[in-house]
């Protein structure tokens, strides 16, 4: 990796923005650095499903013209960014990594996409994911897996694995992902970057191809905590097109970034440790807690017993909603069509061929969970677990300002290791999915490498709309960890 003078593609948004405004670089140069990096790394990583070189170059040129004319659209102006391919982009193929949406070009932009564009960001392309965001390794993509820049024999996590790999490797300055059970935070953890799931309802879901509507939330993957705050500020806010969008006052995520943690109460979730947690993960977590104590935080242990059954509840709610959300993919109006002699046969054949095995598994699971006679025992019970979990979290936040845990019980695992064992794959989200059930924000910050040189992430959680204090703690974790390593990736011309 060439890092002389700090490669352009490795800058944070804050650094790149400063160089843009001082005239040291241009949006076109930033984009070319990213496109060149993609060109050299894609053969190994397969982070992108679609690179929109032409559209991006036009946008970068326009960004430079605007900036030269004094029309500064804000911190993302001229910054090359990637989008997970489950966010609709007008005229640009959007597949959710599914065969069933092969060749689908949406007629409209998702709200987050419009917001990025109006903030001057340059959309580089669409990143790989587990089909319909269902998975934790990006191996469930119908278009082939993505790999981890730290070790290309390993997965980048998932489902936003393409976004994570791109940001980690430098083929995007930042990316948007979606997090239904950890799909932003876990891949960020596995690729040594920052990943944020904001409070449910604060980022519009309009134009996000739904997996589980009550759990899905869009958020940024970035190379610093400060960058995550900048992207969040650009994309969040009330959207009249999303009925679940929060319409009250929004906190300022950047307000207390530099404030430190003196006097803050940090709760360590007791249940997120023990069996299944790799020693390197537990060591990095313990080290981070010590550092936080040293910086003046009061670290206490907190118990949330219901999180032990959260995963079970999650795997009822998410598939149930998915079974309904994915019903629209039937071959009638768009995407793949496999003909049949009747409409029913056409739909059945299209769906049988168009969905991969994990998506099919979850649709079947969800359909079963919603069936008459089972509804109350499954979906109804899961909703009661959600309510109980929310009460427990609320009680905990009566005693502490933030909760913390490892982001993932393991570092990046080898490609192929878990594909045939869905349950062990599901367990990789054990620390992250409770937040989706309660709608609270969480952020993963890289805190170190294990002995194999693989990154470990640390999760900071806060109550709903508690982004200010969450970012305050995350920024301190970032400073204390002094995690400056970048993946060393053999560049291969693609």
């Amino acid at each position: 990796m060439s890092t002389e003078n700090g490669s352009l593609f490795d800058l944070t948004i804050v650094e790149a923005g400063a160089r843009l405004r001082s005239g040291e670089t241009t949006a076109v140069e930033l984009l070319e650095a990213v496109l060149d990096r993609a060109h050299r790394t894609e053969a190994q990583l397969h982070a992108y499903l679609t690179l929109d070189r032409e559209g991006a170059r036009e946008a970068a040129e326009q960004a430079d013209t605007q900036l030269a004319g004094g029309n500064d659209l804000g911190p993302l102006h001229g910054i090359p960014m990637a989008l997970k391919d489950n966010m609709c982009t007008r005229g640009l193929e959007t597949t959710a990594a599914s065969q069933i949406l092969s060749g689908y070009h949406p007629p409209y932009d998702a709200t987050v996409v419009s917001r990025l564009r109006s903030g001057g960001a340059v959309i580089v392309g669409k990143t790989n994911l587990d089909e319909f965001a269902m998975g934790s390794s990006t191996e469930n993509s119908a278009y082939g897996p993505s790999f981890n820049p730290w070790d290309i024999s390993r997965v980048p996590g998932g489902s936003s694995g393409g976004s994570a790999a791109a940001v980690s490797a430098g083929s995007a300055f930042a990316a948007l992902g979606s997090d239904t059970g950890g799909s932003i935070r876990q891949p960020a953890s596995l690729t040594g970057i920052v990943g944020l799931k904001p409070t449910y309802g604060t980022v519009s879901r309009y134009g996000l191809i739904a997996f589980a509507s009550s759990l899905d939330q869009i958020g940024p993957l970035t190379r610093s905590v400060g960058d995550a705050a900048l992207v969040l500020e650009a994309i969040w806010g009330h959207d009249p097109l999303d009925s679940t969008s929060y319409s009250g006052g929004y906190p300022d995520p950047s307000a207390d970034l530099a404030k430190g943690v003196e006097g803050l109460r940090v709760g360590v979730v007791r249940e997120f440790a023990g069996e299944g947690y790799e020693p390197a993960v537990e060591e990095a977590t313990a080290k981070t807690l010590d550092a936080l104590s040293g910086a003046g935080a009061r670290v206490v242990e907190v118990s949330l017993p219901t999180v032990d059954i959260a995963l079970s509840a999650y795997y009822l709610v998410a598939p149930a909603e998915a079974s309904s959300n994915l019903a629209r993919f039937d071959g009638i109006r768009y995407g793949l069509r496999v003909d049949g002699s009747t409409t029913e046969e056409l739909m059945a054949r299209t769906r049988a061929q168009g969905f991969g095995p994990e998506v099919t598994r979850r649709i079947l699971l969800g359909t079963y969970a919603l069936s008459a006679g089972y509804y109350d025992a499954f979906y109804g019970q899961a909703q009661r677990v959600r309510a109980a979990l929310r009460e427990e979290f609320d009680a905990a936040y009566g005693q502490v300002d933030v909760l913390v845990s490892p982001t993932s019980p393991t570092v990046a695992f080898r490609a192929g290791d878990k594909v045939d064992d869905p349950l062990s794959m599901y367990l990789t989200d054990i620390c992250t999915n409770p937040l989706n059930l309660v709608g609270h924000p969480g952020i993963s910050v890289p805190v170190g490498l294990d002995e194999q040189g693989l990154p470990v992430g640390f999760q900071v959680m806060a109550p709903a709309l508690g982004e200010t204090v969450m970012f305050q703690v995350a920024a301190e974790v970032e400073r204390l960890a002094e995690f400056t390593q970048r993946p060393v990736l053999a560049e291969v011309a693609g």
Partner: protein, 482 residues
């Protein structure tokens, strides 16, 4: 054995809101196919619904007019089933927390008022429309199917009655009353022929005195009130015949065949269909605060039942009140003005719903544009009542007034239509006619009294139709009897 029919009716009314239920597309009928569509009503990936406030207000108005409770908190559910014209393959509907519940509607059947319970009124979205091409338009034989999503997402209110209806006539009366109520509220076009209001009937029968319900059959495809009545009547008889011949009924959906006058089995329901209802996670629960409900309550106009009662109070019989109640508001206003000007109610209503409406239709005039005031109508009716003009002459007077010739008195005078009310003038005419028709006089006196009709006609001719035929008859009988 004597059987009791038990009938419940489900009504779907398309709301006449400007935009669709969950998106900004215009509600528009008869437009070029697929021109009023967007990502949301096409079910494109990523699109989300936003509930239409006006539609919620419309269903509240319907519920309040039906004496329903309006829920303080109401929730949308997804009803999951695969169908080509249902773009998301689920319909956003309501399940256990509808906007309105527990009301009633009073209908008059053969002079008796019956109260039909309303189970619920809930909000949902309409589907698109399939057109099957080739081989008779039947889905299974069709060569291809065209889909039009203009109707997809149009707000629909489903109103479900309790099984309180006891016969075909009552079923029709309920449907008609509900239709006029919905039309009166102005929330739906409520046109059967356009499908903007649709009726399905659930029919079962049970032995008289039994309280448990019999096996229920749902009947669809009734395109008029008459076909609703016929279909329900047919189905009641069919079910009784099946049961009396020792057979048993299956819970099923049957299709009304208007031409054949019978119902056909469409599909047997396998237990209850599993629609896998669950709360729509894309929409937050609706909080229908009481102040909002009260605001809607205040906008509800006078409903048909109240209006009919008002007409009966002013002196009309029930049938006249019903006819006038269904007439255009401009005509109802004219009636009220004429009565206020002193005209007797019943003849006024008869003139209005008879001659005035006939003229309006002939001349293709809108009710609001009829060139007749309430006081002119009152004057005309009073002239007839007093015998100033004959009924037949009065029709001419009306023509003249409508032609702009002036008030009824002026027209009658100008057209020389005033009745000869002076007996001495009439007596002269009577005497003259009797003198000219000695044969008739002889016949009468020999017992053929019916010739008096001929003689009345002669007097009417002699007076140019201005005599009161009743008085002429009296004078003739009197004179001949001397």
């Amino acid at each position: 054995m004597s059987w009791e029919p038990v009938i419940g009716i489900e009504v779907h009314a398309e709301l006449a809101t400007e935009s669709k239920m969950f998106c900004g597309c215009a509600v528009s009928f008869g437009a070029e196919p697929n021109t009023h569509v967007c990502p949301t009503c096409l079910g494109l990936p990523g699109a989300l619904p936003v509930a239409n406030r006006r539609a919620i207000e419309s269903i509240m108005a319907i519920g309040l007019a039906l004496n329903c409770e309006v829920a303080e908190r109401s929730v949308f559910h997804r009803k999951n089933y695969f169908y080509a014209d249902l773009p998301k393959n689920y319909q956003i509907s309501q399940f256990d927390v509808p906007v309105c519940h527990d009301g009633y509607l009073e209908v008059v059947v053969e002079g008796e008022t019956r109260r039909i319970g309303i189970e619920r009124a809930h909000m949902e979205e309409d589907t698109g429309k399939s057109t099957h091409i080739g081989l008779g338009g039947r889905i299974h034989a069709a060569e291809s199917t065209l889909l039009d999503f203009n109707r997809s997402g149009v707000p629909l209110v489903e109103i479900v009655s309790k099984p309180d209806i006891r016969g075909a006539v009552e079923a029709r009366a309920y449907a008609q009353e509900l239709r006029s109520l919905v039309a009166e509220l102005g929330v739906s076009d409520a046109r059967l022929e356009e499908g903007s209001i649709r009726f399905d009937a659930n029919v079962s029968v049970r032995p008289e005195g039994e309280t448990a319900l019999g096996t229920k059959v749902e009947i669809k495809n009734m395109n008029s009130f008459r076909s609703l009545e016929r279909a329900v009547a047919y189905e009641i008889i069919r079910q009784i015949e099946v049961l009396e011949s020792g057979g048993s009924l299956v819970q099923e959906t049957r299709h009304w065949d208007e031409e054949a006058g019978v119902t056909h089995s469409m599909r047997v329901k396998e237990g209850s269909s599993d629609y896998r209802y669950f709360t729509e996670p894309d929409l937050v629960p609706m909080h229908l605060d009481r102040e909002w409900v009260d605001r809607i309550r205040a906008t509800i106009p006078e409903l048909p039942a109240a209006r009919r009662a008002r007409f009966v109070d002013s002196g009309l019989d029930a049938d006249q009140a019903a006819v006038l109640s269904d007439a255009a508001p401009a005509l109802q206003d004219m009636f009220a003005a004429a009565v206020a000007a002193g005209a007797p109610a019943r003849p006024t209503a008869n003139w209005l719903t008879g001659e005035v409406i006939a003229w309006m239709r002939r001349s293709e005039t809108s009710p609001e544009a009829i060139p007749l005031t309430g006081s002119q109508l009152a004057e005309l009716v009073t002239m007839v009542e007093k015998g100033t003009v004959s009924s037949s002459a009065a029709k001419e007077v009306l023509e003249g007034v409508l032609a702009g010739e002036g008030d009824p008195g002026e027209v009658a005078a100008a057209r020389d239509l005033l009745q000869i009310s002076d007996d001495s003038a009439l007596e002269a005419a009577v005497t003259e006619v009797l003198e000219q028709n000695p044969d008739a006089v002889t016949s009468y006196r020999s017992g053929e009294t019916k010739v008096v009709g001929f003689l009345v006609g002669q007097v009417m001719r002699a007076t140019g139709g201005k005599a009161d035929p009743k008085r002429v008859n009296e004078l003739l009988v009197e004179t001949l009897g001397r």
